[in-house]
């Protein structure tokens, strides 16, 4: 495992291009595009203000930089550095900006969610979509880029509009039987739309592309409901994480619950492997007391023997958005594993075997898990906890890797390269790349526990 040098960064804005050739990163008002392999700077663009959002177009030809404070969006072309485009939303303001899947339209959401403006880079035409709903996930493009589903709110009722992306024509418009729609998400096959209600009510609705209600699922009443939803890449499963600390997996035939994954505070089943991160003894630090700034203690994983009590956090009952329930969940690219985090057990990542529908591995970190992401090619999970280490899990075992470099590189976020060979690690104002061996490295293959710096 190798690490690149550390580069500057602001606002966690660092993105691989969809074709995997380039890496865009922002430093204040500058946008830097590098070659992924050589990390040489290919292009350098200067924006009008501090960049707050960056997005690659789907064909990797354009980059969008949004400056919400100014209500500005600037688009840059990778092929023609002199080409420029500036979209000003003026007094309407700007809160969100994104590409359409064709990479030729920019969708800007104005302040107060007054409307969504669709700017075309091909023609002068500008489209407006009124009444978008301000919610957790109100915009969802289908995987093939053909359709846009948009949550709307009119007359205190929730609606979903489905647009054809090619000409922004409204295809379907239907109301949803929800109190306060919280989010919508297309199935990867683009034929089923999942919609879920606000956290006050457990309700998951499944709509066909043509607006028919396929099924409604409600696990319980009178309690806080859905917190997060994830489709399996095969579109076969819909995993619903809720505030009761459980994940319910629905199947795609009957849309009934297939199984329920509870997140117990103590792991009792001896078949489950529990990896616990443990600090290594700081002997090296003691050997060199003259060292000015001793690095953070190195850590490694130890296999704990059951029963393993996990560290739980007691949430404040009188606060809004309590830290309980399954808030993050992600399927591995081959749909064989599901990784979850229960927010009142913040240090643990649970990995479920989807084929056997049971818990497979639990990783308990020393500090709360900030983010995790699956390798796009292999069932391999990268985890960061805000410490100077990155953690990798695969079926063979797991490793804790210290990020080298001066000072403390606190990994707050990470993202995989398309090929799964490298990984961008983001700290507060720096980033570096971590290169993994193309075949699974010897340390991973042998399942050796320990760190490799």
């Amino acid at each position: 495992m190798n690490f690149s040098e550390v580069f500057k960064l602001s606002s966690h804005l660092c993105k691989f291009s969809p074709d995997g050739k380039y890496l865009a990163s922002c430093v204040q008002y500058r946008l830097v595009v590098r070659d992924v392999n050589s990390l040489q700077i290919l292009r350098l663009y200067t924006c009008l203000d501090q960049i707050q959002h960056v997005e690659w177009s789907a064909d990797s030809l354009f980059i969008l930089c949004a400056m919400y404070k100014r209500g500005l969006v600037q688009v840059w072309s990778l092929e023609q550095p002199e080409w420029h485009c500036k979209i000003d939303e003026g007094s309407a303001g700007l809160v969100a900006s994104c590409w359409s899947p064709d990479g030729r339209h920019v969708l800007n959401t104005t302040e107060f969610h007054l409307r969504i403006t669709v700017w075309s880079l091909c023609t002068k035409s500008v489209s407006y979509i009124k009444y978008p709903k301000a919610c957790q996930r109100g915009i969802s493009f289908s995987r093939d880029g053909r359709y846009l589903a948009l949550a709307e709110r009119r007359d205190c009722k929730d609606f979903v509009s489905i647009f054809v992306c090619s000409d922004w024509q409204l295809l379907r418009h239907f109301d949803t039987d929800t109190q306060d729609l919280a989010g919508i998400e297309w199935a990867p096959n683009g034929c089923v739309l999942a919609a879920w209600d606000t956290c006050l009510e457990y309700k998951v609705l499944l709509y066909s592309l043509d607006g028919r209600l396929l099924s409604a699922y409600c696990a319980y009443e009178w309690s806080l409901g859905v917190k997060a939803v994830a489709w399996s890449p095969s579109s076969q499963f819909l995993a619903v994480g809720s505030y009761d600390g459980k994940v319910r997996v629905l199947n795609h035939v009957t849309w009934k619950m297939l199984t329920e994954f509870g997140h117990p505070a103590t792991v009792n089943d001896p078949r489950i492997v529990v990896y616990q991160e443990a600090e290594k003894s700081r002997r090296r630090a003691l050997d060199r007391p003259a060292h000015p700034a001793p690095r953070a203690a190195e850590s490694r994983y130890e296999v704990a023997s059951v029963p393993v009590p996990l560290q739980t956090v007691k949430p404040a009952a009188d606060r809004a958005n309590p830290r309980i329930g399954v808030g993050v969940l992600a399927f591995s690219p081959d749909s064989s594993f599901l990784a979850t985090r229960n927010d009142n057990v913040p240090n643990a990542v649970w990995i479920w075997d989807v084929q056997k529908l049971r818990l497979f591995v639990v990783l308990e970190q020393l500090s709360p898990v900030r983010a995790f992401q699956w390798d796009p090619q292999r069932p391999r999970l990268a985890i960061c906890t805000g410490s100077s280490k990155v953690y990798l899990w695969s079926r063979a075992g797991c490793v804790s890797v210290q990020v080298p470099g001066e000072g403390d590189f606190q990994v707050l976020s990470l993202c995989w390269h398309l090929s799964g060979d490298s990984l961008a690690l983001l700290s507060k104002d720096h980033f570096c790349l971590c290169f993994l061996e193309s075949e699974e490295g010897p340390h991973l293959a042998s399942g050796q526990l320990g760190d490799h710096t």
């Binding site: 064709d102 880079l121 002068k124 205190c156």
Partner: protein, 615 residues
């Protein structure tokens, strides 16, 4: 009477004494005294009783007492003591016979009374103890009753308390339920209130939004604009199309196409799954049929058995189905047939299995009985067999022991062997004789060898002496060489070379070996054992006790070996190897010892030794 005396209570007798004293003092009437006497059952043989009698009847009042007694006795129904009066005037005579009869009768009576009294007393005692027992029982039962009554009261009390508690809990539950209901109502009302408020707020918000929209959007905001260098081509290279009814229809079509594709894909998947399942089903069915068909014959033979017909039905069914290639038909037409046939088969299978179970259990029970009978016979047979075997084995052991003893005896060559030999059979005797002759021959040979050995030993002694001298001279020479002379050195070199040429053994330090070899090679007639022996013995032994020492050494070495092997009890291979080495070392004298016992092995060992020693 004497026996009875011993039994009587001394208290009683003393009482009688008292009574007698008392009577003598108060001078009561003789009748009362008599009754007293009967009661007290005192015995006339005792002295005081005698005195008592004397007190009752004195010399003076014999007549009165007799008459008194007569009177008393007649009133009790005894015959008169007096003889029948022949004349009124004549004085009545005392009839002794009558008196004696009376006395005897009185005594008999007395004894009877005593017996009765005894019986009564024992009965009385028995009754008293019974009474005690019953009283105890009564007391105990009364206690029990009391405790159980108390317990009952306690339980009743507890029951009452529990009921009370239960009632309280019920009340609490009801309260809680009410509370829950109330809270739910509150929640519901709050929710409606909240929703209402939300809606109101949202309406207001929407109004504001609308207003804002009007304000911001409708006004020609110059700022809302896009500055672009030049418009770029579409990703697909096509030109944008106008939104028309046509495009709308096209979009719809596309949507439905996508949906259709998805459904088709899913249907294909389902069909494939179905096909797989059908395959499995078919296979299972075939297996079931094949499993059940051999059973078919039997039930058919039994005319009254119904399973046979069912199976034949199934056969027909399956034949039909397979003919029709049912698997390609749609489900609805086949389903019924399929389910029916499966159900039938399943029923058959079930009944079959049940039957088998029954049979198995029956067989099991029967088998148990049969086995029981058989096992006993078997057991006896087996024990007989085993006993026979044991007998045989014992015999074998005996013969082996005898053989061993024989061998020992031949080796010992003692008078005991002759004694032992007497009990041997003729054949054995002959064999022994043969062996004996062989042994004698060996002995002779040995004697010869011994002689040659001694000769060789003598020669060796001489040679050794010569060698010693030679060595001394050589050492001297060397010493001299080392000091000064060169020409002598060259001589020495020659000497060395000669040595090294004669044997490829190490060097100077092993002088003895080549030295020993030389005489050996010179004495070509003597057996080769010499060198070996001289080697094994540190100093040349005196010829006379040669054999003894040798055997001694052999024994010693074997003992050594035996001592060593258990010492090195390490289970690992090294220890064992070590022991093996020891054995190999020790086996040499042992093999030589073989010369004593087995003549034929002599030559071999010799050869072995020769091989061993010659380079």
């Amino acid at each position: 009477m004497g026996d009875w005396m011993t039994v009587t209570d001394p208290g009683l007798s003393s009482e009688s004494k008292n009574i007698s004293q008392y009577t003598s003092e108060t001078k009561m009437s003789p009748s009362s005294l008599y009754s007293q006497q009967v009661l007290c059952s005192s015995i006339p043989l005792s002295k005081n009783v005698h005195s008592f009698f004397s007190a009752f009847c004195t010399e003076e009042n014999i007549e009165q007492s007799i008459s008194y007694l007569d009177q008393e006795l007649t009133t009790f129904g005894f015959p008169s003591l007096y003889e029948e009066s022949k004349g009124k005037e004549t004085k009545r005579e005392l009839n002794i016979v009558a008196v004696l009869n009376c006395m005897n009768e009185l005594l008999v009576l007395q004894r009877k009374n005593l017996l009765a009294q005894e019986n009564v007393e024992t009965q009385n005692l028995k009754l008293g103890s019974d009474m005690d027992h019953l009283q105890n029982c009564y007391a105990k039962l009364k206690e029990q009753l009391e405790t159980s009554r108390r317990e009952m009261i306690g339980l009743q009390e507890r029951d009452r308390q529990l009921q009370c508690k239960n009632r309280n809990l019920h009340q609490l539950l009801k309260n809680e339920k009410d509370e829950v209901q109330k809270l739910q109502n509150i929640i519901a009302s709050r929710a409606t209130q909240y929703n209402h408020d939300m809606k109101r707020k949202e309406r207001e918000y929407n109004k504001l939004k609308e207003r804002l929209h009007q304000l911001v959007m409708n006004k020609k905001d110059k700022k809302i604009a896009m500055e672009i260098l030049n418009y770029v081509g579409r990703a697909d290279g096509k030109r944008g199309s106008w939104r028309t009814g046509k495009s709308e229809a096209r979009n719809e079509d596309e949507m439905y196409k996508i949906l259709l594709n998805d459904y088709e894909y899913r249907q294909k998947q389902i069909l494939m799954e179905n096909a797989e399942l059908k395959k499995v089903l078919q296979q299972m069915k075939k297996e079931m049929i094949s499993l059940l068909s051999p059973q078919k014959q039997k039930p058919r033979e039994r005319a009254d058995d119904s399973t046979g017909t069912i199976i034949s039905d199934v056969e027909e069914d399956t034949g039909e189905l397979s003919r029709e290639s049912m698997w390609d038909l749609s489900c609805e037409t086949v389903r019924e047939q399929l389910t029916n046939s499966i159900r039938k088969q399943w029923r058959i299978l079930k009944s079959h299995v049940e039957k088998l179970d029954n049979q198995v259990s029956k067989v099991h029970i029967e088998g148990f009985n049969d086995e029981d009978v058989i096992s006993r016979q078997d057991h006896e047979q087996e024990t007989e067999k085993l006993e026979l075997e044991i007998q045989q084995c014992k015999e074998m052991i005996k013969t082996q022991q005898q053989l061993l003893q024989q061998q020992l005896a031949t080796a010992c060559d003692d008078d005991t062997t002759s004694l032992l030999r007497d009990c041997y059979l003729l054949e054995e005797k002959e064999r022994l004789k043969e062996e004996w002759s062989l042994f004698k021959e060996q002995k002779k040979n040995f004697e010869k060898e011994r002689r040659s050995f001694t000769e060789a030993a003598i020669r060796l002694g001489l040679e050794r002496k010569a060698f010693e001298e030679e060595r001394a001279s050589w050492l001297k020479q060397q010493f001299l060489n080392m000091t000064s002379f060169d020409h002598q050195n060259s001589e020495n070199v020659r000497f060395f070379s000669a040595f090294s040429g004669s044997s490829d053994r190490d060097n100077l330090t092993v002088h003895s070996r080549p030295r020993q070899k030389k005489p050996h090679s010179v004495s070509n007639g003597s057996p080769v054992c010499t060198s070996k022996l001289t080697k094994s013995l540190p100093a040349s032994p005196s010829t006379s006790d040669f054999c003894q020492t040798r055997s001694c050494v052999s024994e010693h070495s074997s003992i050594n070996v035996l001592n060593i092997t258990p010492e090195e009890t390490k289970p690992n291979q090294v220890g064992r190897e070590c022991a093996n080495q020891k054995w190999s070392v020790a086996s040499r004298p042992g093999s030589q010892e073989g010369c004593y016992s087995g003549g034929c092995s002599l030559t071999y060992t010799n050869a072995h030794v020769e091989k061993d020693d010659l380079p």
